[in-house]
């Protein structure tokens, strides 16, 4: 009988362990740049080739490594940062596990050149596949230069899961941006294929750095946040309610200068914005939390992206209250008014009806059967009370015109969002936004295959982007041109929009661009060109489609029905949410216990 259980060789064990630390080029960048910061560098340069999938170089002017210690540096759990287990509860440096260099070295070729400022000569070391190939004295400038090549070459399984070069590059940049946000005293410079893509000069303080990194749009719309309570100090900036993003990627949270993701704290931030910004929109925020190292466990995961708070409830409350406080006392004069959520003019629902609409807003976006039943029954209940007023305020309804869709007759609009139709077999609700989104999406798809009309702008609009976003964006400029969105790269951190697709009504360029970028950034796997195009079209369609809480006139409903009937795939919106929900007579009869 052969042995079923064998002890793994050191090489395999290292590779497995490396898997936790080195997932992709961005993780290598993170470990190396953190090491450079821990080494007290004042100037860090990062050079990426092919988005970091071919080679990564990190060059700093920090303290360097002693010749004697170089060999140790490549050994697992060799660290200069802690001495005993208790120390990890006192760590103030970014790294401490002693896993970074050996892990990287086990899955790539690492070339290290280092010299302490006080030494005359430096050291050159080459490690490949976890084996030290060379350690020799060498001349070099003070500090450490690490060049990593053959990345993940001996782990084909992982290499296969890398995304496109531009996505990997943007992930690398994300990592550097996060570190740059907390270290204003350090100069950062990133080049990709020899071209400078990110450069942050030394900043006099953290807010200057934030303004530089997050861009002018954010700093124009930022509110400062500050609190100090029970050993937790919170500071930073959050966006005003009118500045929103379509995902939570612009929420940066730092605990003791370390970027982390924490669902609890994110929830706390979002809950402060609840009811202030539209559902499914997210604020931007840069928050720093200083908390005694004893009250937070950073040793949860090798990538140190997660932490555990001793009292997570208290942290949640502090964040939520502080952010809400800042939002509440914002000066409204400087455009901080929440006009997006302001109810539209001209709505003449009776007060009773409007009250119900507010209640129904709670489950806008949730499509569980129960909620809908509630909404329907509320609608029907209130209908009897407003019998003298037609459900729809739209002008022209009540003419002889009959609006029908699939032989269902249009009754009216509910909650400014859903169109109600009744027919022989029951009734149905159409989500006007989802329906219009699908129509526009199909039209855009059609027009991208044919000639397209593009409205030039009288005042070209400059939209600022972060370097990572710009990297994602630059890949699809040609396609945008094809669908009539003429965009040019404008310097290192902005694009200028020169023309919009004529099919879209007047939409704001800034929002279109940020939606496209968010949509691109959300990709979970390598996506081909077609998929990327569809994402862009979906973003455009969503932005241009008629919004919820918008009263439609009879003519608009009629046009919508006609277009919807002709549109393929009209059961769902491009994001997959339903457009139409049906209620059969028998279902309704069951609700009333008639059956």
């Amino acid at each position: 009988m052969p042995n079923h259980i064998v002890v793994l060789s050191e090489e395999i064990a290292n590779k497995i362990a490396a898997g936790e630390v080195v997932e992709r080029p961005a993780s290598i960048v993170k470990e190396l740049v953190e090491n450079a910061i821990d080494a007290g560098a004042g100037d860090i340069r990062v050079e990426l080739e092919k988005g970091g999938t071919a080679s990564i170089a990190v060059i700093d002017n920090g303290s360097g490594i002693d010749h004697e210690d170089v060999a140790f540096a490549f050994e697992r759990h060799a660290t200069s940062k802690i001495r005993s287990f208790e120390d990890i509860y006192r760590v103030t440096s970014l790294g401490f596990r002693g896993e970074a260099l050996p892990s990287i070295a086990s899955v790539a070729r690492v070339e290290l050149l280092t010299r302490r400022p006080e030494d005359l000569s430096g050291t050159r070391a080459v490690v490949e596949g976890g084996v030290i190939k060379e350690i020799a004295p060498a001349g070099c400038s003070a500090g450490t230069q690490i060049r990593v090549t053959k990345i993940l070459e001996n782990v084909p399984a992982r290499r296969k899961f890398l995304k496109t070069e531009s996505t990997e590059q943007s992930l690398c940049l994300d990592v550097i941006v996060r570190l740059a946000l907390v270290h204003p005293e350090i100069r950062f410079k990133v080049t990709a294929a020899g071209r400078e893509i990110f450069s942050a000069p030394e900043a006099k303080d953290i807010s200057a750095r934030i303004a530089f990194v997050m861009g002018a749009d954010f700093s124009d719309h930022a509110l400062s946040v500050a609190a100090d309570q029970e050993g937790v100090a919170l500071s930073g900036f959050v966006s005003r309610p009118e500045f929103t993003r379509s995902n939570s990627k612009s929420i940066f949270l730092f605990v003791n200068k370390r970027f982390i993701r924490d669902s609890g704290v994110s929830h706390a931030i979002l809950s402060a914005y609840r009811r202030i910004i539209e559902p499914r929109r997210f604020p931007a925020a840069v928050l720093f939390m200083e908390i005694s190292p004893g009250d937070v466990d950073v040793n949860v995961h090798p990538a140190k992206m997660e932490v555990r708070f001793k009292d997570s409830r208290a942290v949640h409350d502090l964040v939520s209250k502080t952010v809400a406080g800042s939002l509440a006392c914002r000066e409204t004069a400087a455009g901080g008014f929440v006009y997006r959520l302001a109810p539209r003019e001209g709505q003449t629902f009776s007060p009773v009806f409007r009250k119900d609409r507010d209640a129904s807003a709670d489950f806008a976006g949730l499509y569980s059967r129960r909620n809908l039943e509630q909404a329907i029954s509320q609608d029907l209940l209130s209908r009897s009370q407003v019998a003298e007023a037609p459900v729809t305020a739209g002008s022209g309804y009540g003419d002889k015109q009959q609006i029908t869709f699939n032989n269902y007759q249009y009754l009216g609009q509910f909650a400014g969002t859903y169109l109600i139709f009744a027919g022989g077999n029951g009734f149905m609700l159409i989500d006007q936004h989802a329906a219009h989104e699908r129509i526009l999406f199909e039209k855009l798809k059609k027009s991208s295959a044919e000639k397209v009309a593009s409205q030039s702008l009288l005042l070209p609009e400059v939209v600022s982007l972060s370097p990572g976003e710009l990297a994602l964006f630059s890949g699809c400029i040609d396609f945008l041109q094809e669908i009539g969105l003429a965009v040019e790269i404008f310097g290192r951190d902005a694009v200028v929009v020169k023309a919009l697709p004529a099919i879209l009504p007047q939409t704001e360029s800034r929002e279109i661009i940020s939606d496209i970028v968010d949509e691109l950034a959300e990709q979970n796997k390598i996506s081909d060109l077609k998929e990327r195009k569809e994402k862009i079209l979906a973003a455009l369609a969503c932005r241009a489609a008629v919004k919820a809480n918008h009263v439609l006139t009879a003519e608009e409903v009629m046009a919508l029905c006609r277009d919807l009937a002709e549109t393929p795939g009209n059961a769902t919106c491009p994001h997959g949410r339903p457009v139409i929900v049906n209620f059969s007579v028998s279902e309704i009869e069951r609700m009333f216990k008639r059956k």
Binding site: E242, A333, G335, Y339, R340, P343, E345, K443, K451, A453, S454, Q455, S456, L457, L458, L459, E461, G484, A499, A502, I503, L504, P505, Q506, T507, E508, E511, A559
Partner: protein
């Protein structure tokens, strides 16, 4: 408080406030108008805190006093009253409105709670004719942006455009796709607005509605408000606190190819093109060739429209696409029979203006089809 007032005068006065009073508000008193009996006059005040209207009407005031009442209800009541003279009396906070044998009683809110309207006693007023103001608004307001996010474009720029010889006002509106600019005569230099102010959409529409063409209007600035004063009315509009884009930069320095067109035939041809262009975007291609212009609009779902117009043109053949509605908007507001169309080549902007004067121009960006 006891007043006798002519029914039609009263109805007219209340009606003018309906556009201003808030329909939905957390401050119920803003749904109301303030009525004050003064010597020989009834003063009616309406405000939504951005726009305020103060107007005076002749009335027999037997006893002075003041009260606020719901503008909408009061309007509906007075509208249904038959007869010439309305008696208006207030006892405590209940107002009795009677005419012939009909009597309404309506509870009001005390006048002290009504927001105070800032004083304008030391404002310098400049004279302008009502027709000039209305003309400026008509000629520019169509080009304002409709999306609420861009506050600065969701209104018009009003500035003093006087040069050494003539005094005039300039009004500019743009939505980023086109820009309309109109000039109107003034009597003297309006010092306070030489840098320009932005009048918001709602305020602009109220001005257009309330100012009468035959009136002489005094116009002045007070803090961040534009004040328009006629014999019986004062309208105060809060201005948008934002920067207006530098519109002068947008006006093309080099002129396009100038074509003189007859207004009505061109306008009607465009309207015929508009029938086939799609609802969401409305493209028309203008093709210029020797002696004629061809208009063409194609929509895959509907069909095609084509029309030829004889013009004086002798240059190279030229094709330009436009949003047909932008052309219609610009041409409709031109007075006079002929227009000058300066067609930009490539993707350069085109300019439409009256053939015989410089009082209006509309810059339109082309549609790349």
């Amino acid at each position: 408080m006891e007043i006798k007032i002519n029914r039609n005068t009263f109805l007219d006065g209340i009606q003018k406030t309906l556009g201003i009073v808030e329909k939905k508000t957390t401050m119920p008193i803003l749904n109301n108008i303030l009525l004050t009996g003064e010597v020989g006059k009834l003063k009616i005040v309406a405000t939504d805190r951005e726009i305020s209207l103060i107007s005076y009407y002749d009335a027999e005031v037997a006893e002075k006093g003041e009260i606020t009442l719901s503008a909408k209800k009061l309007y509906e009541m007075v509208r249904e009253i038959q007869g010439e003279v309305i008696n208006f009396t207030k006892i405590n906070n209940i107002v009795k409105i009677s005419c012939q044998r009909a009597v309404y009683k309506i509870p009001g809110l005390p006048a002290d709670d009504f927001p105070s309207i800032s004083d304008d006693s030391d404002v310098k007023f400049y004279n302008i004719s009502g027709s000039v103001i209305k003309d400026l608004i008509t000629k520019t307001s169509f080009a304002m942006a409709t999306d609420e996010m861009r506050k600065n474009l969701n209104g018009v720029l009003l500035e003093d455009g006087s040069d050494g010889n003539n005094c005039f006002f300039r009004m500019v509106a743009t939505d980023g796709h086109r820009l309309a600019l109109a000039k109107g005569e003034a009597s003297e230099i309006f010092q306070e607005i030489t840098k320009g102010v932005i009048v918001p959409r709602k305020g602009l529409m109220e001005i257009k509605k309330i100012i009468d063409e035959n009136e002489n209007v005094g116009i002045g600035m007070h803090k961040n408000m534009l004040i328009l004063r006629t014999e019986n009315t004062v309208l105060k509009v809060s201005l948008v606190d934002a920067d207006y884009p530098d519109y002068k930069r947008v006006i093309p320095a080099e002129k396009g190819i100038g074509v003189v067109l007859e207004k009505e035939p061109f306008l009607h041809a465009l309207k015929r093109m508009n029938v086939v262009s799609s609802e969401r975007y409305s493209g028309v291609i203008l093709s210029f060739s020797t002696g004629k212009m061809t208009l063409n609009s194609t929509n895959l779902d509907v069909g095609e429209a084509m029309e030829e117009i004889d013009i004086k043109y002798s240059g190279d053949d030229l094709d330009v696409g436009f949003n047909v509605n932008y052309l219609i908007d610009a041409i409709s507001v031109i007075n006079g029979d002929s227009i000058l169309f300066e067609v930009g080549q490539g993707l350069k902007p085109s300019v439409i203006k009256p053939a015989d004067n410089d009082n209006f121009l509309c810059i339109i960006m082309p549609l790349k089809i």
